[in-house]
């Protein structure tokens, strides 16, 4: 099987984070898909921390259409997979490539789309660590919570 559903989570209650742990190392890439909203009534970053690393080890570049074109570079305490807001309608897809390799930093490509805020973004990020990814923690960067009903799906792409 080349495209395998590893886990699907639908929140039954608000949650401050969602963690996928003990990730099988038998695939080449991972794809994480999130839909839903957050408790904070503002635009929050959906952040992925790999192997629990909360250090400033994730340099990134984004390109966005936020009513006008925007591009920025930044370093964060997690890969920015996309964004989430309280009014819902956000969809974020992150592709973490060569996640089990131990001779490369981990890089990710993410796409974000959201209504009703009418934004779309593409983000490229890097975790400056050659360790294989064994866990992914999804969280909202402002400390807000994911709202009940939010979904998280993790897929493995064959090696």
């Amino acid at each position: 099987m080349s495209y395998v559903a590893l886990a699907n989570v639908t929140l039954g209650a608000n949650a401050s984070s969602v963690t996928f742990s003990n990730i099988n190392q038998g695939f080449r890439d991972l794809i994480l898909i999130h839909t839903g909203s957050s408790t904070n009534d503002s635009i929050n970053s959906l952040q992925l921390r790999l192997n629990g690393d909360s250090g400033s080890n994730y340099p990134q570049v984004l390109m966005a259409a936020d009513g006008g074109p925007v591009s920025a570079t930044f370093t964060d305490s997690g890969l920015i997979c996309g964004y989430t807001i309280s009014s819902g309608g956000a969809m974020n897809i992150a592709q973490i490539m060569d996640y089990s390799a131990t001779n490369k930093h981990k890089t990710a490509l993410s796409r974000h789309n959201a209504m009703p805020e009418s934004r779309t973004r593409a983000i490229a990020g890097r975790w400056t660590n050659t360790a294989a990814v064994t866990s992914i923690t999804c969280r909202v960067d402002t400390g807000a919570s994911f709202v009940a009903g939010s979904t998280f799906a993790l897929y493995g792409i064959a090696a």
Binding site: M1, S2, Y3, V4, A5, L6, A7, N8, V9, V18, T19, F20, S21, N22, I23, N24, R28, D29, V61, L62, M63, A64, P69, V70, S71, A72, T73, Q95, M97, D98, A101, N103, K104, H105, T107, A108, L109, R111, A122, I123, A124, R126, T128, T130, L154, G156, I157, A158, A159
Partner: protein
């Protein structure tokens, strides 16, 4: 914490998306070619290349050529974010199409950058071929589209850096997608 294991895929055929071939450069290499792709014409509708690579020269582009066609048959459009501004443009018709970006010699050690490239309706003989790509270098993220003005069914897909070589360890995987 949610323990994770391999669960049965829900509602998805195992054969709808399949790995065809993976190439990992054992040493620096000037190009890679997925060949004999006609063998899959009755199985897949679309093809996807996923890569994590870098070049031996400074940050550069990655290009595709189909069926060995080196005639001026490729048009490229792009939308690029370089960390300070967004730009867009187009070029062609050229003897190859740019499908993405590559990290280059100025990138940090162990920094190989990714790309996902989709070739839609690869085997149609009534349509020109279209490609879309999302990729990154060490300083930019880019969306690209390529038009190959040719209705031939796909037989090969060559991938090259704009200049220099792919660094050893660069990885390219080809997947078939049913439709």
């Amino acid at each position: 914490m949610i323990p994770l294991g391999i669960l049965a895929s829900a509602g998805q055929s195992a054969a709808d998306y399949e790995l065809i071939e993976t190439f990992v450069a054992g040493s620096n290499v000037s190009s890679i070619t997925f060949s004999n792709l006609a063998a899959f014409a009755s199985t897949y509708r679309h093809l996807q290349v996923r890569y994590v690579a870098r070049s031996t020269v400074p940050e550069t582009g990655i290009f595709a050529r189909f069926n060995g066609d080196a005639s001026s048959s490729y048009r490229t459009h792009y939308l690029l974010g370089n960390g300070s501004s967004v730009s867009s443009g187009s070029f062609g018709l050229d003897p190859r199409g740019q499908v993405g970006l590559l990290a280059g010699s100025g990138a940090a050690a162990n920094d190989f950058r990714p790309g996902v490239i989709d070739l839609l309706d690869a085997y149609s003989t009534t349509k020109n071929k279209t490609v879309r790509g999302l990729s990154a270098s060490q300083s930019a993220v880019i969306l690209m589209s390529v038009l190959w003005v040719n209705t031939s069914s796909l037989t090969s897909w060559q991938i090259t850096p704009d200049s220099g070589n792919f660094v050893a360890g660069s990885r390219f995987s080809l997947y078939g997608i049913k439709g």
